[in-house]
Amino acid sequence: MIEFKNVWYSYNPHAANKTEANKEAKDTQKTQADWGNAPDSSWALEDVSFSVQDGEFLGIAGHTGSGKSTLVQHMNGLLVPTRGQVLVDGVDIANKQAAADARKQVGLVFQYPEHQLFAASVYEDVAFGPRNMGMPEEEMDSIVREALELVDLDFEALRDVSPFELSGGQQRRVALAGVLAMRPATLILDEPAAGLDPAARRELLALVQRFHTELNTTIVLISHNMDDLAHLCDRILVLNKGRVHAFGEPARVFIDPVAMKNIGLDVPSAQRVANLLKAQDLLLPVPSSGLFTPGNLVETLVKAYKEGF
């Protein structure tokens, strides 16, 4: 379990503390967009409290600059809160040793992870993490094989190939395998499908879902795609200007389309269609989950059509 307790973070803590006194006054005067973070804003995260439960699939949404990437870098101790605490399995990870231990538990996959490949062969690159973690060398073959099979890559065919000779989609899978090889209990993915074509995107998200169901890995997924989030996640955390805007089940988070629009986000497309119909006085019975999905929207519409509107 990863717990955030009143976490504040500033990239420039000295200035943040100094300007905090007159911050309120300044904020109200400034005219700026309602979303994102002003570049001179003192705090990248403000008073963030929530927890990631074991075995859950958590989504994180927010406009560019809302603090998503800053937030996830707190989860394995890359960044340390300026104020407040981050607990991984009950241990504060503020000190270096605790952070190093947390990195064995929490795997973090950055945006465009294929840009971080470096080794001469796929095998060496995937083995980099496990070796750093001190996993026994005699098991390395099976560790690498297992990680590559998890991402649907052929161990025998690719082990001695240079990662730079692979296609973009394959490179991303190798990078993902490099993190999975450390066997993290929690996997954090920052926009894992960014820049992929629709087919590769679907495949990748299916992979992520498989880690969740088959390996029982806790997943934290950052995404700009509300459809993906609504479809995949147990709960969603919405950030705005470094603060928690909403946190809960998809149905609860997407209940207010106006509030979402105000912070530069949208609601899932099926729900948006239902909302548009509602605006045209076509009231559909709300599904039991509280949120329309493409499937139940079609069903409801067909049923409503047959029974007469």
């Binding site: 990239y11 890359l78 990195r103 950055f110 080794a119 980099f128 993490g129």
Partner: protein, 269 residues
Amino acid sequence: MAQSALFGRYWPGKSLVHKLDPRMKLTGVVIAMVAIFLAKSYAALGVAALFVAAFFLVARIPFGQAFKSIAPLLFIVLLTAFLNLFFVQSGEVYAQAGPFVISQGGIDSAIFLSIRLTLLLLCASLLTLTTTSIDLTDAFESMLGPFARFGFPAHEFAMVMGIALRFLPQFMDELGTIRAAQLSRGAHVSANPFHGGMQGLSSLMVPLFTSAFRHAETLSNGMDARCYHGGVGRTRLEPLAFSTRDLVAVVVLLSMVACVIATNILATL
């Protein structure tokens, strides 16, 4: 994010100094540096310091910012002071431990050189604080222009310099991300080769270089797409032009040199 640490990052403003012709500023910095080197006494250095302080006042750059911009290079000043303290030996001896001697001459030259170096750094940072990198490269190109007659690729040289300046912060950012990613995989990214350091180091440098090549390819495609064909026949939206402001600047800078020399002479009388 980590860009604030860069030496003399552009400090936007509309002051007189910002508006000077960049060629003037480039030459001006050289003149100011000559003045600082000419100073032979504390009094003369003080005069030079007054001028430098005045430049910063006119440029409306807060003193805190001025020192922050040279902070990363202050270690050079400290190192120089340290070396002078121990290796210049003259005058009264204050302390001695084996081969290390601290004497009056050592203390004098340590203090004198630190002030001089700090002033030089401040001058250089004033240039980059008040001049955008585009202006700076334009100035370079224009000043190297005469050499183009002898086959020196002035435009290309300036372009390469401009691109290098443009990508410095970008690579800093990317290096930060790569470092964070490899740290997440438990990398020991220290320079200690006995602690997985070599692989740790290559796990940073290889991705950085591939990214540099990727950027280079994208950039050259982008330049091709905009029909870039070198400097021949290219015109400017805002051509560089000298004005009265620049004349005033020349006068001020020359008077700085004159004042420093005068103080030097007065001190020897």
